[in-house]
Symmetry: C2
Subunit: 478 residues, 2 copies
C-alpha cells in the first residue's frame, strides 16, 4: 500500500470528521463560556455548569489581608483562596453614605427602598419589607408554638462554681486596672462583670454587693489590691444568686419562640427566607442552614441592654453551628452570626426603639461606654444618648453586619460598632423577629458544614448536629 492510499482510507476520513466535530463543539463551548462569564452578575442560574456560582469581587484581588494594626509591615496571614471554595466569595452590600437610598427588586409586583442608616455598623432599613398580614401571621405562629422566657432567672440556674483560675489575684487585679492607678474603679469592675451572669450590673448593684460582702471596708467605692484579695472569685455570682432580682434587673426581659424555616415549613416562613436571601445576596445554601426564625415579645417594661449578637473571633474560637462537624473543641464559642435581619412585627405605642449607642462613632472604646455613672449600654436609662435609635414600625426590616469583611470576600473581624439593644417598652407590647445568618469565619469549616448538611438532607437520617437540634438548646444564650 502506498502512503497516498493510506491518506485516502475510510478510517482516515473518520478521524478527520471527528476532528471537525470536536472543533465545532469546542468553538460553541468557548462562545458560551465567554458569553456567560462576560455577562455581569445577573442570572448565573442559567449559565453552564462550569460557571462559578458566586462571582469574585475584584476589589482587593491582589491584596492579602492582615489583621495587624501596626504601621510597620505585619506578618500577613496566608491567602485563604476563597474563590477555590465551592461557596465562592460573599457579597456585601454597599452603604455609600448615611442616608443613601437604593432600590430593591424583592417582589415581582412591589418596589422596596433600602436606606443606609449607618456605616459602622453597615446598617440598612427597608420599610414595608413585610406586609401587615405577614406580620400578624408570624405573631400567630409564634403564639401557637408557645413563647418562653428569653432568660432564666439567676436563682433558677444550676450553680456551677467557676474554677479558680491559674493566675494569681495580683494578675487579675492588674488586668482589670486599666488606668494602672492601683485601684479598681467602678467601671473597671463593671467591664469584668459584663461577662458574668444574666443579671444586669449597675454601679448601684456593685455598691450593694460591696456592702453585702463587706468588700470595701473604707467605703470609698474603689477596691484596693488588699480589698480585692479578700474576695472569692465566685463571690459576686453567689451573692446575686442568693439575693433575688427583678425581671427588670436582667440583661434581657422578654419572651421568645423559635420557628423552623426549612423545607416543609409554613409558606409564610419559606417566603420570608427567600426574601432574606434576595435582600442579603448571600449564598442560598448558607441562609437555608442558618438559625430558625426567632420571634420575640417584649411586654410593657421589657428591654434588652446593648449587646453584640455574636462575639469576637480569636484564633481558637469555634462556631456553635460548625463545631460538631469540624470536630473542634474550644473554650471560646460564639454564634458566628454574620448578619442580623430584624423585623418589626408591630408598631409600638411607646418606647421599644432599637438603639445603636456607638453607631458611626469615630472610635470604639469599651471603657468609654461606661462613664461616671452613665452606662451607654443601659437601654432602660440611656437610650436617649445613643447615636442612633430606630422606632419600631410594622413591616420594616433592619439589616446589619456583625462582622467586617476580611478583604477577600469572606467573614472578617467582629464589628464592635454593631452594639445594639432594645429600649424599654413604655406602652403596649413590642413584637419583633430575628433572622441570623450563620457563617464560620473559617471558610474551610463552613464548607465542611455545608457538605455534611447536604449529605444528610439527601435522604439519610438527620445527624445529631442538624441545625434545629443545635439551636433547640440555645434559647437561654440566644
Amino acid at each position: 500500500m502506498s502512503p497516498k492510499e493510506s491518506v485516502c482510507s475510510r478510517s482516515y476520513f473518520l478521524v478527520v470528521m471527528v476532528f471537525v466535530h470536536v472543533y465545532i463543539v469546542n468553538v460553541i463551548a468557548l462562545l458560551l463560556y465567554v458569553y456567560y462569564t462576560g455577562e455581569g452578575d445577573t442570572g448565573t442560574a442559567a449559565g453552564p455548569a462550569s460557571a462559578p456560582p458566586h462571582r469574585a469581587t475584584p476589589a482587593a484581588a491582589t491584596a492579602t489581608t492582615t489583621t495587624g494594626t501596626a504601621p510597620a509591615p505585619p506578618s500577613p496571614s496566608l491567602p485563604k483562596h476563597h474563590n477555590l471554595s465551592p461557596l465562592g466569595r460573599l457579597q456585601r452590600l454597599e452603604g455609600i453614605k448615611v442616608g443613601h437610598v437604593q432600590r430593591l427588586d424583592l417582589l415581582p409586583n412591589k418596589v422596596h427602598y433600602m436606606k443606609t442608616l449607618s456605616m459602622k455598623p453597615l446598617l440598612f432599613e427597608v420599610p414595608s419589607f413585610l406586609s401587615e398580614e405577614e406580620c400578624k401571621l408570624i405573631i400567630h405562629l409564634a403564639k401557637l408554638k408557645g413563647l418562653q422566657e428569653s432568660q432564666i432567672m439567676p436563682s433558677d440556674l444550676q450553680h456551677e462554681a467557676i474554677d479558680e483560675m491559674d493566675i494569681s489575684k495580683e494578675e487579675i487585679f492588674n488586668l482589670l486596672d486599666y488606668n494602672q492607678d492601683g485601684q479598681l474603679q467602678m467601671k473597671e469592675v463593671l467591664t469584668l462583670l459584663r461577662f458574668g451572669d444574666s443579671t444586669w450590673i449597675t454601679p448601684e448593684t456593685v455598691q450593694e454587693i460591696y456592702t453585702g460582702l463587706k468588700a470595701d471596708p473604707d467605703g470609698n467605692g474603689l477596691l484596693s489590691l488588699e480589698e480585692f484579695k479578700q474576695l472569692n472569685t465566685n463571690a459576686f455570682q453567689t451573692y446575686l444568686r442568693q439575693h433575688g432580682v427583678e425581671k427588670s434587673e436582667l440583661v434581657r426581659n422578654s419572651k421568645n419562640a423559635w420557628l423552623y424555616q426549612g423545607e416543609g415549613a409554613h409558606q409564610i416562613l419559606r417566603t420570608l427566607r427567600h426574601r432574606v436571601i434576595k435582600l442579603t445576596r448571600l449564598p442560598p445554601e448558607i441562609v437555608e442552614h442558618s438559625e430558625p426564625l426567632q420571634v420575640v415579645k417584649y411586654e410593657q417594661g421589657g428591654h434588652y441592654h446593648a449587646h453584640h449578637d455574636s462575639g469576637p473571633i480569636y484564633a481558637e474560637t469555634s462556631c456553635f453551628h460548625t463545631k460538631l462537624v469540624s470536630n473542634v473543641s474550644s473554650a471560646l464559642e460564639t454564634s458566628c452570626r454574620y448578619v442580623t435581619v430584624l423585623f418589626y412585627l408591630n408598631t409600638v405605642s411607646g418606647g421599644g426603639e432599637t438603639a445603636f449607642p456607638v453607631a458611626d462613632n469615630r472610635t470604639y472604646d469599651e471603657l468609654f461606654l461606661i462613664q461616671n455613672d452613665t452606662d451607654l449600654r443601659d437601654t432602660r436609662k440611656n437610650c436617649d444618648r445613643a447615636n442612633l435609635r430606630v422606632k419600631p414600625v410594622q413591616g420594616t426590616a433592619l439589616f446589619w453586619y456583625n462582622y467586617l469583611s476580611d478583604g477577600e470576600g469572606w467573614v472578617g473581624e467582629q464589628d464592635e460598632y454593631s452594639l445594639h439593644g432594645g429600649c424599654v417598652v413604655t406602652q403596649g407590647n413590642k413584637w419583633i423577629a430575628n433572622n441570623w445568618i450563620n457563617i464560620d469565619p473559617d471558610v474551610q469549616r463552613q464548607v465542611k458544614f455545608q457538605q455534611a448538611i447536604s449529605k444528610y438532607t439527601n435522604g439519610e437520617a438527620p445527624a445529631k448536629w442538624a441545625i434545629d437540634n443545635i439551636y433547640q438548646d440555645l434559647h437561654v444564650e440566644l
Copy 2:
C-alpha cells in the same frame, strides 16, 4: 474523477491540516483565556485581547441607586448601565476598618503594605511606594522644569468686577443667615468668603474689613440687615486687593511644577504612572489621560489651608477635562478628581503634616468647622485639632477618594470628609507630588472623552482640548 479520488486529493489534505492547526490554536487560546480570567485580577496585561479589561463588582447588582435622603421612597434616578459602557465598572479598594493592613504586589521584587488610615474619606497609606532615588529624581526634574508660585497675589490679579446678582440683598442676607436670627455671625460671613479670592479670611481679617469699610457701626461683630444693605457686593474683594497681603495670609503658600507623564516622558514618570495604575486598579486608559504630575515645594512657613481637591457635583456641573469634548457650557465647573495620590518626596524636619480635620467624624457640618474663633480648616493655627495628621516620610504615598461610589460602579457624590490641608512647615522644605485621576461622574461624557482622546492619539494632530493643553493654564486654580 470519482468522489473518492477528490477526498484523496492534495488540496483536501491541506484543508484537513488547516483544520487541525486551527483546532490546536483554538484549544490553546481557550486554555489561556480560562487561565487568565479565572486567576483573579492580577496581570490582566498578559491576557488575550478578548479578555474584558475590568470585571464587574457584584455588590448592588440588582439595586438601583438614588441620591435621595428622605425615608419615604424617593424618585430613583435611571439606571446608568455602566456595564454596557466600554470603561466597565470602576474598582474601589476596600478599607475594612481603620488600621487594616493589606499586602500589595506592585513590583516584582518588593512587597508593599497598605494601611487604612480612615474610612471617611477612604484613605490609605503605602510606605516606601517610591525609593529615595526616585524621590530625588522627581524633585530634580521639577527644578529643571522650573517652579512657579501656586497662587498669584490678589494685588496682581486682574480686577473683574463681580456682576451684581439677580437676587436682592435681603435674599442674600437670608441665605447667609443659617440660624435665622436676623444677624450675620462671623462664621456665617466666613462661609461666604471661603468662595472668594485667594486670600485666607480669618475672623480678625473680617473685623479689620468691617472697620475699614465702616460696615459695622455699632461694633458688635454682627451684621444686621440694615448694615449689610449698605455694603457693595464687591466691597470685600476690593478692600483686600487694595490692602496688600502677606504670602502667609494666602489660602496656599507654595510653588509648583507640572510634569508630563504621557508616552515619551522620562522613564521614572512612566514607571510612576504604571505603579499608580496598579495601586488604584482603575482603567489604565483613564489614568493615562488624567492630569500630569504636580510637584509642590513648600518652603519654611509654607502651608495650604484645608480644602477639597475637587468640588461637589450638581446636575449642571461639568468637568474641566471633558467639557470641550462633551460640548457643554456651565457656570459650575470642577476638576472631577476621583482619586488623589500624594507622594512625600522628602522627610520634613518640622511640621508640614497632611491634616484631615474631619476624617471619620460621625457627621459633617460646614458651620461646625468654624467655631468661636477656631476655624478647623486653618492649617497655620489648628492642625493639632485635626482628627488625623500624617507626617511626611520620604517615599510614602497617601491615596484617597474625593468622591463616593454611586453604588453602580461609577463616581458618585463628593465625599465631604476628604477635606485636607498642609500644615505649616516649621523647619526645612517640604516636597510632595500629586497624581489626580480625573473621571467625569457622567459616564457617557467620560466615554466620549476617551473615544476622542484615542482618536487623536492615533496619529492625528493634537486637538485644542488635549489634556496637557487643558492643564497648562490651570496652574492658578489647581
